[in-house]
Structure formats: C-alpha cells, structure tokens
Symmetry: D2
Subunit: 136 residues, 4 copies
C-alpha cells in the first residue's frame, strides 16, 4: 500500500506546483524534506518566518504518510503542535525530518524535527496528526 | 504601553510588506484579522491550505500582543497548537479572532478562532504563546 | 443519541467510583464539572497539582462527549493540550467548563476553561480530542 | 548548576511523599522514570488511565529539568501536549523517557516517550514546557 519516493515526488509536483521544498528521502516510517530559504522566507532581522517552518513540517508529515499508506486522497491534517526552539540560520536550507509514531486505522501521528542544514541544533519541533479514510 | 490599531497597521506594513491580511479590529485583549483568499491560498479540491490558516493565526496573536504591550521588538512565537475542524470556503475571506487569555511578565497566551466570513462554524482553533522581553 | 445528566452521573459513578468530581451541568454542546480540593490535590506551597487540572479537563471532555453522542463505549482521548495560566486557589473548588467545538463522525474536539470557584481568571486552558467509533 | 540523581530523589520524596514513581536515571539532558501500575491506576477494561500517563510525563519533565539546572524552586509547567497512541499493558510498569530539546534562559522544552515496560511501542508521546526563573 505504500508509495515510492518517485510516486510521491510526481504527486506533490501536481499538488504544490510552485513549492520550494524538495523531498530528500522517503522511508518506511518517515521522510526528510528540505526547503530553500530566500527573500520570501525571511522576516526583518534575518529570521525564517514561523509559517515557513509550520508549512514544511505539515508537508513532511504528509509525505511520510503517503510513503506509508500510498497516494490516498482525502488525507487531511487534523492537528499540528509546534514549539519554536532556536533562531534558524538565514543562509542555510531548512531540513525537516519526520518520523511516524503511530499508524492507526483512522489516525496517523508523526513528529518532525526541524534544523538549519549543517547544524544538529533543533530549530523547531512538531507533532502532527493526519486523518485517513478508514476503508482505504 | 499598548499600541493603537493605526500604529500596528503602520508597523505591520513594514514587517510584512506583501501580506494579504487586513487588521479589522484591535481591542484591549484581542484582535480580529481577515485574509483574502485567491489562487495562491487554495489547494487542489478548493480547500484553503493549512499553512494559510496557521499563518493568519500567528499574525492575529502577534497583533493582539502588540495591541496589549505596545510595539515591542524581540517578541517571538514560542508555540502554536492548531486543530483543523472544518473545510473552509474557497470563496470567502478567512476571519481570525484572537483573545488573549494570559498576559504575563514573560509569556502571553492567546486563542484564535478561525472562520470563513459569513459563517459562525469554526474552521480551525488555535492556542499560541508569545515570549516577550521581561524588562520591556 | 445524547445522554442526560442523570444517565451520565450513573455511568461515571461506575467508571470512577472514588472520584472527587461532581457533574454540575450537561448541555447540548458542553458540560460543567467541579472538583473538591483537599490535601491530596495540593503540592507544597499550596498549589493545586497540574495532574489534577489535567484530570478534571479530561473528564469534562468525556462528560460533554457522552452528553452529545450518548453512552458510547470505546470512546477514548487521543490528544490533550493544556496551558497552565495562573496559580489556582488552594481553598476553592476547581471548576471546568467544557465546550465542544467540533463533533465529527470519528473525532470530537472540545475546549475546557478551568477556574477556581468564585473567580473568572483562567487557571488553565485545555483543548482535547476524543475518538469515537465511526458506526456508533 | 545541575543536580545528581540522589539529590533529586531526596527532593522529590519531600515534594511527592506518596508518589508511586521511581527515578531510574538522570542524565545531562534527560531522565527515565517508572511508575507502578495497580488497581488505582486502571480504568474499567484494564487500561491505565490517561491522567496517570499525563502525571508521569509531567514528573519526568520536572526531574530532567532539575537534573539540568539544579534544585530550583519556582520552576513550573507552562504547557503540556500529549498524544495517546496505544493501549498500555495493565500488567507492566509504565516507563517515561524524557529528553530535553531546549534549555533556554526562561523556558525549558522536553519530549517524553511513554512505554509499557518490556515493549518499544509508544503508548503516548508528550511535549512539555517548564518556565524557570531567569536569574536562578
């Protein structure tokens, strides 16, 4: 029932045609994404904006979910909890590493660790839940 | 110490020069914002994207905080928890109503109710925390 | 499909035989509970312990859910997010007011405002989710 | 500035005289606790009650914080977010493993993985925040 990285890349290119993220890895229970940082992602003071971090976390959860259950329409985020921990670099890509911690019949829960590329200090930490159709 | 709606509108125009939200009201313990919905905010299927809802909630918390404590630099989001409740309309503005539920010395906590304009059914509900400098 | 306050009181007396809470009201979209405060609920310094507040919030969500959908076995908490806002009184009952903000086919989401009886200052604020069997 | 396991065990014995948890390990950035499960911790159907899981998570965060910054009075939980993932065993101790993911000047953030002893399947996952006095 799972989807390969190539299938997900093709699917996401249609769903998010102007997205600035790249899918680096899709595994059995997780995924790693990267997001370019440019003028549009920065706030005055050189901080990556919070919504960019929330957005890449949400997409990482989505990609990890598709990797697990396959390309399932009607899969939607039901909750997302983010803690902002450190100021991200303005000059490095944002890396989002998602691990699924529960794959249930109707709910999938994952956590996402967000870094600036080249550092292992957490920039933000996310826990999110996706609802999936029960009879997929 | 508080800031008026006009002061905040002027400040936000500098901080978010290309933003699509408007500040409708700033009160003593809250704020109401609206966000236009166009092609950029929609996902296939006609749903407003989750990151748009997270983003407007974050800004509503920020505006309500500024309205309470004044234009204070170094005020940053520390956490945000969102529950997605119903599919928003693709044809109505998104309305975000923020109420501050705690204004402490170092932490401000608020909740945000998100609607499609013209409906009172909650589209999403957010609780967020801002850290403010202790000796402002 | 809903349950009355009397039905829920009888059901809860079996599920939580030694509980110290009382069910004050059950409405169409919410419930109000109270919790006695004694030596067992206090921490050194005279603060009501955090777990007591989390516990009464969880029960308030459960009672409000039963009030809405009836006495449904297999209804379980899936997530709970609490913000501790002010030190509660050591001498007043804790009041928990729950409002359901979404009643879906498989998920029910509610928020709970927690006070010390006699004050309208929020002691804590909770958002929680219950999963309910789809074909109840 | 940190506290040893022995100092924390002595301190907690005073703060929680009737507690049923034991402190198994205190490290530089985390702690492991165990909680006995008996009749008082179970709900009808043989499930460990949600409040027991929330309580042990809260204590694990507290112990890890004390291990990092020393025995600091006025350290309080400000938020706790729990996801319930699987039904815990009624016959095994509950194990809570806490890792601190940010140690800031005023806020400490940690995550807690909760298991039934003898299994590596997550029973619940928690992210919590403690506020610490700035000039400790």
């Amino acid at each position: 029932m799972s989807a390969t990285k190539e299938e997900i890349v093709a699917f996401m290119a249609v769903e998010f045609p102007s997205a600035k993220f790249t899918i680096e890895e899709v595994g059995d229970n997780g995924a790693i994404l990267a997001h370019d940082i440019g003028k549009d992602e920065l706030r005055p003071g050189g901080t990556v904006s919070g919504p960019v971090l929330m957005s890449i976390a949400d997409v990482a959860l989505y990609v990890a979910t598709l990797g697990k259950i396959g390309i399932v329409p009607l899969t939607v985020t039901t909750s997302l909890n983010i803690n902002f921990l450190r100021k991200p670099s303005a000059e490095a890509r944002i890396i989002a590493e998602c691990s699924l911690i529960k794959v249930g019949r109707t709910l999938i829960v994952g956590e996402v660790s967000i870094y600036s590329e080249g550092s292992r200090d957490l920039v933000a930490h996310v826990v999110g839940t996706y609802a999936v159709p029960p009879n997929r």
